[in-house]
Amino acid sequence: DQQVKQNSPSLSVQEGRISILNCDYTNSMFDYFLWYKKYPAEGPTFLISISSIKDKNEDGRFTVFLNKSAKHLSLHIVPSQPGDSAVYFCAACGGSTLGRLYFGRGTQLTVWP
Protein backbone atom coordinates (compact mmCIF):
# COMPACT_ATOMS: atom_id res chain seq x y z
CA ASP A 1 0.00 0.00 0.00
CA GLN A 2 1.45 3.32 -1.05
CA GLN A 3 2.15 5.64 1.84
CA VAL A 4 3.08 8.56 -0.41
CA LYS A 5 0.91 9.39 -3.40
CA GLN A 6 1.27 11.73 -6.33
CA ASN A 7 -2.03 11.55 -8.12
CA SER A 8 -1.10 13.59 -11.17
CA PRO A 9 1.27 11.72 -13.47
CA SER A 10 1.83 14.79 -15.61
CA LEU A 11 1.56 18.58 -15.56
CA SER A 12 2.04 21.04 -18.42
CA VAL A 13 2.72 24.73 -17.70
CA GLN A 14 3.69 27.72 -19.77
CA GLU A 15 7.06 29.34 -19.14
CA GLY A 16 6.83 32.13 -16.55
CA ARG A 17 3.71 30.76 -14.88
CA ILE A 18 3.45 28.90 -11.60
CA SER A 19 3.83 25.11 -11.41
CA ILE A 20 2.11 23.39 -8.50
CA LEU A 21 2.91 19.75 -7.82
CA ASN A 22 0.90 17.91 -5.20
CA CYS A 23 1.60 15.02 -2.86
CA ASP A 24 -0.47 13.19 -0.22
CA TYR A 25 0.67 10.83 2.50
CA THR A 26 -1.03 8.45 4.88
CA ASN A 27 1.51 7.76 7.64
CA SER A 28 1.23 10.28 10.48
CA MET A 29 4.66 9.16 11.76
CA PHE A 30 6.42 10.88 8.87
CA ASP A 31 8.27 13.92 10.15
CA TYR A 32 10.31 15.02 7.15
CA PHE A 33 9.28 15.54 3.55
CA LEU A 34 11.46 16.03 0.51
CA TRP A 35 11.21 16.74 -3.19
CA TYR A 36 13.54 15.33 -5.82
CA LYS A 37 13.94 16.21 -9.46
CA LYS A 38 14.96 13.69 -12.09
CA TYR A 39 16.10 14.15 -15.67
CA PRO A 40 16.14 11.15 -18.06
CA ALA A 41 19.18 8.86 -17.74
CA GLU A 42 20.31 10.59 -14.53
CA GLY A 43 19.86 9.92 -10.83
CA PRO A 44 17.35 12.04 -8.88
CA THR A 45 18.72 15.19 -7.26
CA PHE A 46 17.56 16.72 -3.99
CA LEU A 47 15.52 19.88 -4.42
CA ILE A 48 14.01 21.01 -1.13
CA SER A 49 12.76 19.58 2.16
CA ILE A 50 10.49 20.52 5.02
CA SER A 51 10.20 19.39 8.61
CA SER A 52 6.80 18.49 10.00
CA ILE A 53 7.12 21.30 12.55
CA LYS A 54 6.98 23.86 9.74
CA ASP A 55 4.30 24.68 7.20
CA LYS A 56 6.46 26.39 4.60
CA ASN A 57 10.02 26.31 3.33
CA GLU A 58 11.38 28.46 0.53
CA ASP A 59 14.51 28.25 -1.59
CA GLY A 60 14.70 30.64 -4.49
CA ARG A 61 11.99 29.80 -7.02
CA PHE A 62 10.94 26.70 -5.06
CA THR A 63 8.54 26.67 -2.11
CA VAL A 64 7.15 23.67 -0.33
CA PHE A 65 3.95 23.91 1.71
CA LEU A 66 2.89 21.35 4.28
CA ASN A 67 -0.65 20.87 5.58
CA LYS A 68 -0.35 18.26 8.32
CA SER A 69 -4.04 18.09 9.12
CA ALA A 70 -4.78 17.18 5.50
CA LYS A 71 -1.62 15.07 5.15
CA HIS A 72 -0.82 17.04 2.03
CA LEU A 73 2.17 18.88 0.67
CA SER A 74 2.79 20.84 -2.47
CA LEU A 75 5.76 22.19 -4.38
CA HIS A 76 5.42 25.59 -6.05
CA ILE A 77 7.82 26.68 -8.76
CA VAL A 78 7.65 30.37 -9.65
CA PRO A 79 8.39 31.36 -12.34
CA SER A 80 8.57 28.09 -14.24
CA GLN A 81 11.37 27.69 -16.76
CA PRO A 82 11.87 25.17 -19.60
CA GLY A 83 14.84 23.71 -17.69
CA ASP A 84 12.42 22.72 -14.93
CA SER A 85 10.95 20.07 -17.23
CA ALA A 86 11.66 16.80 -15.40
CA VAL A 87 10.02 14.17 -13.25
CA TYR A 88 9.44 15.33 -9.67
CA PHE A 89 9.27 12.83 -6.82
CA CYS A 90 7.81 13.51 -3.43
CA ALA A 91 9.34 11.55 -0.52
CA ALA A 92 8.81 11.18 3.21
CA CYS A 93 10.60 9.67 6.18
CA GLY A 94 10.24 9.41 9.92
CA GLY A 95 10.15 7.17 12.93
CA SER A 96 12.49 4.23 13.01
CA THR A 97 12.97 3.72 9.31
CA LEU A 98 16.78 3.39 9.19
CA GLY A 99 16.86 6.32 6.84
CA ARG A 100 14.43 4.79 4.41
CA LEU A 101 12.52 7.26 2.24
CA TYR A 102 9.07 6.48 0.90
CA PHE A 103 8.51 7.85 -2.60
CA GLY A 104 5.51 8.79 -4.67
CA ARG A 105 5.30 7.64 -8.28
CA GLY A 106 6.36 10.97 -9.66
CA THR A 107 4.89 13.80 -11.74
CA GLN A 108 6.27 14.64 -15.17
CA LEU A 109 6.44 18.44 -15.43
CA THR A 110 6.66 19.98 -18.89
CA VAL A 111 7.30 23.71 -19.16
CA TRP A 112 6.66 25.02 -22.66
CA PRO A 113 7.82 28.38 -24.09
Binding site: A41, G43, G94
Partner: protein, 112 residues
Protein backbone atom coordinates in the same frame (compact mmCIF):
# COMPACT_ATOMS: atom_id res chain seq x y z
CA UNK B 1 30.33 17.01 -1.54
CA UNK B 2 29.63 13.29 -1.19
CA UNK B 3 29.91 11.21 -4.34
CA UNK B 4 28.02 8.03 -5.18
CA UNK B 5 29.45 6.13 -8.12
CA UNK B 6 27.70 3.38 -10.03
CA UNK B 7 30.08 1.35 -12.10
CA UNK B 8 28.11 1.26 -15.36
CA UNK B 9 25.71 3.72 -16.99
CA UNK B 10 24.37 1.19 -19.52
CA UNK B 11 24.41 -2.61 -19.49
CA UNK B 12 22.96 -5.22 -21.83
CA UNK B 13 22.76 -8.77 -20.49
CA UNK B 14 21.25 -12.03 -21.65
CA UNK B 15 18.44 -13.88 -19.90
CA UNK B 16 19.83 -16.23 -17.26
CA UNK B 17 23.11 -14.37 -16.76
CA UNK B 18 24.30 -13.41 -13.30
CA UNK B 19 24.60 -9.64 -13.13
CA UNK B 20 26.55 -7.51 -10.66
CA UNK B 21 25.78 -3.82 -10.17
CA UNK B 22 28.32 -1.95 -8.09
CA UNK B 23 27.89 1.17 -6.00
CA UNK B 24 30.68 3.01 -4.20
CA UNK B 25 30.51 6.04 -1.91
CA UNK B 26 33.45 8.24 -0.97
CA UNK B 27 32.27 9.14 2.57
CA UNK B 28 31.55 7.09 5.67
CA UNK B 29 27.78 6.84 5.39
CA UNK B 30 26.21 3.80 6.97
CA UNK B 31 22.89 3.48 5.17
CA UNK B 32 22.90 2.51 1.51
CA UNK B 33 19.96 1.65 -0.74
CA UNK B 34 19.15 0.03 -4.07
CA UNK B 35 16.05 1.15 -5.99
CA UNK B 36 14.68 0.48 -9.42
CA UNK B 37 12.77 3.07 -11.36
CA UNK B 38 10.14 2.17 -13.92
CA UNK B 39 7.78 4.56 -15.73
CA UNK B 40 4.52 4.96 -13.84
CA UNK B 41 5.77 2.93 -10.89
CA UNK B 42 8.16 5.44 -9.36
CA UNK B 43 11.08 4.35 -7.20
CA UNK B 44 10.75 0.93 -5.63
CA UNK B 45 13.10 -0.25 -2.90
CA UNK B 46 14.88 -3.54 -3.55
CA UNK B 47 17.32 -3.86 -0.64
CA UNK B 48 19.12 -1.65 1.82
CA UNK B 49 21.99 -1.95 4.26
CA UNK B 50 22.73 -0.05 7.45
CA UNK B 51 26.16 -1.49 8.14
CA UNK B 52 28.82 -3.84 6.82
CA UNK B 53 27.42 -7.34 6.27
CA UNK B 54 23.95 -6.15 7.26
CA UNK B 55 21.05 -6.15 4.81
CA UNK B 56 17.32 -5.64 4.85
CA UNK B 57 14.74 -6.53 2.21
CA UNK B 58 12.81 -3.74 0.62
CA UNK B 59 9.50 -4.01 -1.19
CA UNK B 60 10.63 -6.05 -4.22
CA UNK B 61 13.61 -8.25 -3.23
CA UNK B 62 12.61 -11.29 -5.30
CA UNK B 63 15.25 -12.22 -7.86
CA UNK B 64 17.88 -10.01 -6.25
CA UNK B 65 20.53 -10.30 -3.56
CA UNK B 66 23.06 -7.84 -2.14
CA UNK B 67 26.53 -7.80 -0.69
CA UNK B 68 28.21 -5.31 1.60
CA UNK B 69 31.67 -6.48 2.58
CA UNK B 70 33.11 -2.97 3.00
CA UNK B 71 31.38 0.14 4.23
CA UNK B 72 31.92 2.10 1.04
CA UNK B 73 30.65 -0.56 -1.39
CA UNK B 74 27.15 -1.98 -1.83
CA UNK B 75 26.55 -4.48 -4.62
CA UNK B 76 23.27 -5.58 -6.16
CA UNK B 77 23.21 -9.05 -7.70
CA UNK B 78 20.69 -10.41 -10.16
CA UNK B 79 21.07 -14.15 -9.67
CA UNK B 80 19.54 -15.10 -13.03
CA UNK B 81 18.56 -12.08 -15.09
CA UNK B 82 15.10 -12.01 -16.61
CA UNK B 83 13.50 -9.61 -19.08
CA UNK B 84 11.22 -8.16 -16.38
CA UNK B 85 14.35 -6.91 -14.62
CA UNK B 86 15.02 -4.49 -17.46
CA UNK B 87 14.98 -1.18 -15.62
CA UNK B 88 16.91 1.84 -14.33
CA UNK B 89 18.76 0.88 -11.13
CA UNK B 90 19.63 3.58 -8.64
CA UNK B 91 21.95 3.41 -5.66
CA UNK B 92 21.59 5.95 -2.84
CA UNK B 93 23.14 6.88 0.48
CA UNK B 94 21.25 8.47 3.36
CA UNK B 95 22.60 11.82 4.53
CA UNK B 96 20.12 12.72 7.24
CA UNK B 97 16.53 13.87 7.43
CA UNK B 98 16.99 17.32 6.00
CA UNK B 99 19.03 16.11 3.03
CA UNK B 100 17.60 12.67 2.42
CA UNK B 101 19.48 10.72 -0.22
CA UNK B 102 22.30 11.37 -2.59
CA UNK B 103 21.80 9.14 -5.62
CA UNK B 104 24.25 7.72 -8.09
CA UNK B 105 23.82 8.41 -11.79
CA UNK B 106 21.95 5.16 -12.30
CA UNK B 107 22.50 2.04 -14.40
CA UNK B 108 20.17 1.40 -17.30
CA UNK B 109 20.02 -2.40 -17.53
CA UNK B 110 18.50 -4.15 -20.51
CA UNK B 111 17.97 -7.92 -20.34
CA UNK B 112 17.47 -9.57 -23.72
Amino acid sequence: DVKVTQSSRYLVKRTGEKVFLECVQDMDHENMFWYRQDPGLGLRLIYFSYDVKMKEKGDIPEGYSVSREKKERFSLILESASTNQTSMYLCAIYRGQGKGYTFGSGTRLTVV
